[in-house]
Subunit: 212 residues, 2 copies
DNA sequence: TTGATTTTAGACCATTTGGTCTATAATTGG
DNA sequence: CCAATTATAGACCAAATGGTCTAAAATCAA
């Protein structure tokens, strides 16, 4: 047959042939959850097939490889969770409250009866980032986004602070956030995490971070 | 033969039979490094055999299972690294400097050319703690030790602070530490980590953590 | 209807997984 | 030297791994 006469101008959305029986985003959400909870090596193809209800053929046709599925999952996490957190940080309401809410996420996400997801970026940092450049770039981009948003709120909270001080505080808040997420995965109690958050918030109060 | 007449009173160190050809602690150190760097599922038995130079028979005779090897690795990490960090925290010198040194570990450990180990406790938090109660208990014990040591230094730095404030600050410092370790695994730049540390240290300075 | 195109189901594959078992080697106490 | 004991090497194993491939099914354009 002729090559590539196919549809240069028609610009259709639905190509010919049998249509997909699944929603790609829906499947990706389920797979993302698996990688998020169990890590890359901890999630087997079988896990993925069971959770998605698909068969190997469909998965490999649609996503190509396990690794690509992981990268796509990270991207989806960024779009779904990081961007939402960022929007909340730079959104409406008292800036101090917005920062507090941001640091509360790791604490509220903590379920008493085990099974804490934490933050996919933080988990991926430990799990894959140091051995997978593509994953690392995505994780860094996520941190970068949160870092910028933190700078924005903090500069609203402490309008008297110079940019340098705002930047350092934002980096500290990001560290606190990551630390809380990681420690929540380890089952640290809500009280302990709460204490950490309180001290971090207190550093933003009157007196604030007093350079030594 | 008779049961358990073996050596109730002799109390010998070396039992009869062929002696070990390897040093158990040495092997454990190598295995610990593998689990630390690659995680539980990311480390195969083959990895372990190659790194230790042992064969399956010896490994299983000496350690029983991969899982047990992981637990032993966590214990060894606690004895080797956590206890050392704790000792340094409550040791000699200016307390403010000791705290600074503690938070510098994640930054100095960062090698420019990838391959950052981070902290085994933090990695294990993301990797295994939420699906392995034994591992979780060890991780929590490690955090607990560091937390107590942090309280000790902080109470030396700010003798005017009430215990509650000291405790909250210690929890925050532990979060910052964990966050730095995790973000260093993701390849965050030394400058970024340094900024976070600076802000955290600043919170201990004059004015300190000013409750809102 | 027919031909082209695409997805699906699942058989199939080589490799690797964690783990066991046995024969042999190396030691000690007697 | 001999019996008992322990460690080593590596053959062996069933199950699981990530991945490929083919035949059938489902759709659309002509």
């Amino acid at each position: 047959m002729m090559v590539s006469r196919k549809r240069d101008l028609k610009n259709r959305l639905q190509s010919a042939g049998r249509p997909r029986e699944f929603d790609e985003s829906e499947v990706l959400d389920k797979v993302m959850t698996l990688f998020w909870q169990q890590g890359y090596e901890g999630t087997s193809l079988q896990n993925i097939l069971s959770a998605s209800g698909l068969t190997k053929g469909s998965v490999y046709k649609a996503f190509g490889s396990k690794h690509n599925l992981y990268i796509k999952s990270l991207e989806r996490y960024e779009a779904l969770h990081v961007d939402r957190a960022v929007a909340a940080l730079i959104g409406e309401g008292a800036p101090l409250m917005r920062l507090d809410d941001f640091l509360s996420v790791p604490i509220l996400g903590t379920k008493a009866a085990g099974g804490v997801d934490g933050c996919f970026l933080c988990n991926a940092s430990a799990d894959r980032a140091c051995m997978d450049a593509e994953a690392r770039a995505l994780v860094q981009r996520g941190y970068e986004k949160m870092s910028r948003a933190l700078e924005a709120v903090i500069s609203q909270i402490r309008m008297d602070w110079p940019p340098e001080k705002v930047n350092q505080s934002a980096q500290m808040m990001l560290s606190v956030y990551s630390g809380l997420q990681i420690m929540s995965r380890a089952g640290q109690s809500r009280e302990q995490l709460q204490s950490a958050k309180n001290a971090a918030m207190a550093a933003m109060g009157r007196g604030g971070i007093g350079f030594i």
